[in-house]
Amino acid sequence: MKNLYQMKRINIIVILFVTAGSLLLLSACHTRKYHEPKDIYMPDMEYSRAYDAYTENPVFADNQTSRLPVSGTVQRGAMLPYHIPESDSGYAYSGTVANPLHVDDSILKEGKRLFDIYCAICHGEKLDGDGPLYKGGSGPFIAAPANFIAGPTSTLPEGTIFYVATYGLRNMGSYASQVNQHQRWMIVSYIKSVERSKGISTPEKEDSTLHSLETAYLSTLKGGAATGGMGSK
């Protein structure tokens, strides 16, 4: 038998081609998707033995490992919990709460970024209530989102916008689980800055109106409407 150096060139070409072809075929198998998990060599190292964020947990009655913060506690560095509970009088009163942030350019920039992610999908990046989900009534979301730069929503006080972002209103859901209080105030600051740039001013309520709103709100609190409103939002 001839050795490798004396092999005909044609044979080497055949070897190369067949090897390359079969390796291509094999690697093609690697891109095939599969639906059942693979056999794992060391399952107890691969899968966490400790309870993880989304694993079931026998310790708690609802079987969930992720917990809400203990009621009545405040995270370090976080804002104090929003004190107004979800109610009609709470909505009316919400406008009296002032924006706690010292608004500067960095807050407005971050507010715009957050608005474009969480709000613009319905309210539109131009704040005109015509986001990609509504598209002037031809989108999948058939209810018209509020228009921030014209009509009644444009003159809502900052505190009320914050209240609506926290609890939702009509067809809008609560955004408390996606954006925290600090972020919500940044978004509100951004909305107001755009409105101001378009010459829309928010009317200030008179002291007597504020007082009557506060009385109405406090009377519902005594009636027990506020139970459970604190903490979780």
């Binding site: 070897i15 067949v18 693979k38 691969e46 999908i121 014209a150 067809n171």
Partner: protein
């Protein structure tokens, strides 16, 4: 001759009456319908703007939302348009006056007060109803448009079929040529009087066996190395999920930002599987699927509306009463990406600080109906990226501690800082 002309007149009359009948058939109902619908005698174009600015937050022409559908609603009110005007201008006053029809409606729709619209004139309200009554649902029948994207899935399989047939044809051609070649040689040998060597079957020829051994050596080596280095990798894992959630529809077609649902990706270690309340932000209104047909990776048509109904079942939402009045239970999504317990990974560190795009590790998610694991998530994959990725060093408050690099950057001794230079390949960076 007489019969022929009689036939001709008859034919003409018949055709004329047929044309008349057809014209009548096609035009009459539309004329009648248009007349009937235009009863409030308003301007539908002006009505559209008024409707969208004032009513569309709570009403649609055809479906229940916060309030009842408005198409033909004015016809149901006892007392006619005058009562409707009163209701729109000041709904509370109408309720207080004890109007039975509106009080019943108020109770049916969960006692939600309708906003007062004193600024709308009677003419405006006529315009609104003119628009609403002539409203036709855009693009009904959502599953009817299944054809265009339906061809995509079978296309890829027919491609590989074509390649297979081509390969087979070529292989047969090679065999024939080899046969012809050996026959020709045999004939030539016979003619020149050279003795033909004794035929040996191809599988016993030493040359062929030798070649086979070399080929198998290479393939075996490849399989060994590949198998050994990818133990425990789950690339291309694509589990079936309890709800066929299409990222293509949400992140692709409807342009929803990744962070809208995975809000945790820039705040915490986990990207967050969105809780169903986030789904319901939109799906309390969007109760049926109207986009292009969805196919799973096997090419099977998926009913989008049925998936939304599944969501309603999980969260206990009653689509009729628009309330959460049924028992709900958690959606048990199947985890796709899993890192072993001995590796620490934090989403916020990569998304917020590193400004890494989601697609870098998760692939073209916005084009996928069914998500699969795009990266190996192996250590080599991590390390490679840490070695080559340049951090945004100067504009980032997180890295001010690295004063040496800051100096060197200023002196132009280095032009960039990689993750590795900051200790991004140290063992204890991820294993601790």
């Amino acid at each position: 001759m007489g019969v022929n002309s009689l036939y001709k007149t008859l034919w003409r009359k018949l055709t004329a009456s047929l044309v008349f009948a057809v014209t009548l058939f096609f035009f009459t109902p539309q004329v009648l319908w248009a007349q009937g619908a235009a009863a409030p005698k308003g301007d539908a174009t002006a009505g559209k703007t008024l409707f969208q600015n004032n009513c569309a937050s709570c009403h649609t022409p055809l479906t229940k939302l916060i309030g009842p559908p408005l198409q033909g609603a004015e016809g149901k009110v006892p007392g006619g348009m005058d009562e409707v005007y009163k209701w729109v201008h000041n709904s509370s006053a109408v309720l207080a006056s004890g109007n039975k029809y509106f009080n019943d409606l108020y109770n049916e729709y969960g006692k939600v007060n309708m906003t007062h619209f004193p600024q709308l004139s009677d003419k405006d309200i006529d315009d609104i109803f003119a628009y609403v009554d002539n409203f036709v649902a855009p693009g009904s029948a959502p599953t009817a448009s299944g054809a265009p994207s339906g061809q995509a899935a079978p296309g890829s399989s027919s491609n590989s079929l074509v390649f297979g047939i081509l390969t087979l044809v070529l292989a047969i051609l090679v065999l024939i040529l080899v046969q012809v070649n050996s026959n020709l040689r045999k004939l030539a040998n016979d003619k020149e009087g050279v003795e033909n060597p004794k035929p040996i079957p191809f599988y016993r020829r030493k040359r062929n066996i030798f070649m086979l051994v070399i080929i198998l050596f290479f393939i075996g080596g490849y399989l060994l190395v590949d198998g050994a280095t990818t133990i425990g990798y789950s690339k291309n894992y694509q589990p079936r999920q309890p709800i066929f959630f299409s990222h293509k529809v949400h992140a692709g077609i409807n342009q929803i930002n990744c962070l809208y649902c995975h809000a945790g990706a820039e705040k915490s270690r986990y990207a967050m599987i969105p809780s169903p309340n986030i789904c319901m932000n939109c799906h309390r209104v969007i109760d049926h699927y109207t986009g292009p047909a969805i196919h799973d990776d096997g090419g099977k048509l998926v009913d989008g509306t049925a998936q939304i109904q599944k969501l309603y079942e999980y969260v206990g939402w009653n689509d009729q009463t628009k309330k959460y009045d049924k028992p709900g239970h958690p959606i048990e999504w199947v985890q796709i990406h899993n890192l072993p317990d001995f590796v620490y990974f934090n989403h916020s560190q990569h998304v917020k600080v590193g400004q890494i795009q989601c697609q870098t590790c998760h692939g073209p998610i916005a084009t996928e109906n069914e998500v699969y694991q795009y990266a190996t998530l192996g250590m080599g994959w991590c390390i490679n990226c840490h070695r080559t990725t340049k951090v945004q060093f100067t504009s980032n408050g997180y890295y001010t501690i690295f004063t040496k690099y800051e100096k060197e950057l200023k002196m132009h001794q280095i032009d960039s800082v990689t993750v590795e230079m900051q200790g991004g390949t140290d063992c204890n960076k991820c294993h601790y």
